[in-house]
Symmetry: C2
Subunit: 215 residues, 2 copies
Amino acid sequence: MATCEFFYDFSSPFSYLASTQIERVAEGHRLVWRPFLLGAVFKAVGTPIVPIASFPRPKRILALREQYRWAEHWGVDFALPAVFPQNTVLALRMALQLPEDRLPAATHAFFRAVWVEDRNLGDREALREVALGAGLDADRLIAGAETPEVKALLRTNTDEAVARGAFGAPSFFVGDQLFWGQDRLDFVRRALEGWKPREPGPKVLARVDDLSGST
Amino acid sequence: MATCEFFYDFSSPFSYLASTQIERVAEGHRLVWRPFLLGAVFKAVGTPIVPIASFPRPKRILALREQYRWAEHWGVDFALPAVFPQNTVLALRMALQLPEDRLPAATHAFFRAVWVEDRNLGDREALREVALGAGLDADRLIAGAETPEVKALLRTNTDEAVARGAFGAPSFFVGDQLFWGQDRLDFVRRALEGWKPREPGPKVLARVDDLSGST
C-alpha cells in the first residue's frame, strides 16, 4: 500500500475537480488530505497571486473552457462562482481542526459550496452556514481558527508543500514524486501502483537554471 | 469523418511528443499537419518568448520532469538537446514546401533530429544534413525558404492559429474546438468522434476579462 498526499485549496477550481475523483484514484492506498493556502504558495515561488489573471486572453478563455470540459469528463457539477478568487483562509483553518475521518466529507462540502452552489467562503456568515449545513460545529471551528496552533497547521502544510517542490494546486505527492494538476490523476494512480518514470539526470536538471536566463 | 488540424513547431518538446502519437489518435479521420512559428504566436499573444524560462524554478523543474514522464508514457525516445530553444524558422519553411503526403515523414525526421538526436536545426549545415538524411532535396528547399510565397505560408499558418485562439504548442483544432497540449490527445480523439463538451455561457466567458484585473 502506497500513500497519496493531496494538497488543495478551496479557491482552486482544479482542486475541486480533483477532489471529486481522488478517493477513486487512491482506492486501496492511503490518502492524506492536506489543505494548504494556495496564495501563500504563489507568493513563496513568485507567481502572480491569481495566475489566470496574468494569462494572455486566449489562454484565460481556454482555462475557463477546460474547467467545464473536465467537469463534463468526470460527470460532476461545475459553475464559476460570482466571487472569484475567494479568500479561503478561514475555511482552510476550520477544515484543519477536523479529525482525519471527518475531513473528507467537510472538504467535499466546502468545495461544493464554492464550485457548485455559488457561495463565497470569504464571507464569514456564508461560511458559517456552509459549515452548519455540513454538520460541523461552525462556531467552535471559527473560534479555533484564530488560535496560533491552528494557524501553524496551515502554515506547516503550505511551507512543506513548497519545500517539496509544489508551486500550484492541486498537488499530489506519492513519496517524493510530485504531480501537479487534476489532469495527472492517471499518473498519480500509476505512481501508487509502483510506476517510477524516468527522471532527467542531474546535468539536465542543472540546465533549468540556464533556461531562466534565455528569455 | 472529422478533421484534426495539428499545429506544431520543431522547437517545442511537447509538439514532438504529440507528433509521435497524432497519427494513431487521428486514425480514421483526416489529419492536417500545420507547421507554425511558435515564437511569433507568443509574441502575438504577449507571452514570454521562452515561457519555461519565466516559470518559477520548481515549475521549470517539473516541466522538464514531465517531458521525460510523457516520453516514457508514450514509449518514445526523448532527450533535451544541448541547444534550447532553437531557431526553427528555416526548418519550418522547408517543411511547408513539401507536398501533403511527404510532410509527415519529414516532420518526424525534423522532430527526431532535435528531441532524440541532439541536433540544432538553427544551424544551417546541421539542418541541411538532417534534411538530406530524411531524403529531402535540401538545397532546393533551403533556397525556396527565402521566397516570399514560402514565408507567407508560415505566416498564414501562424496568424490563422492565433486568430482562432491558439496561444501555444501543440495546438489541435477539431472544427472550432481548440485543444492545447499533448496531454489532451484523449480529448482530441473524443472530439473527432463527435464529443462536444459543455461550453461556458457568454456571461461566464465575458468574465475572463474581469479576471485580468484581479491581480
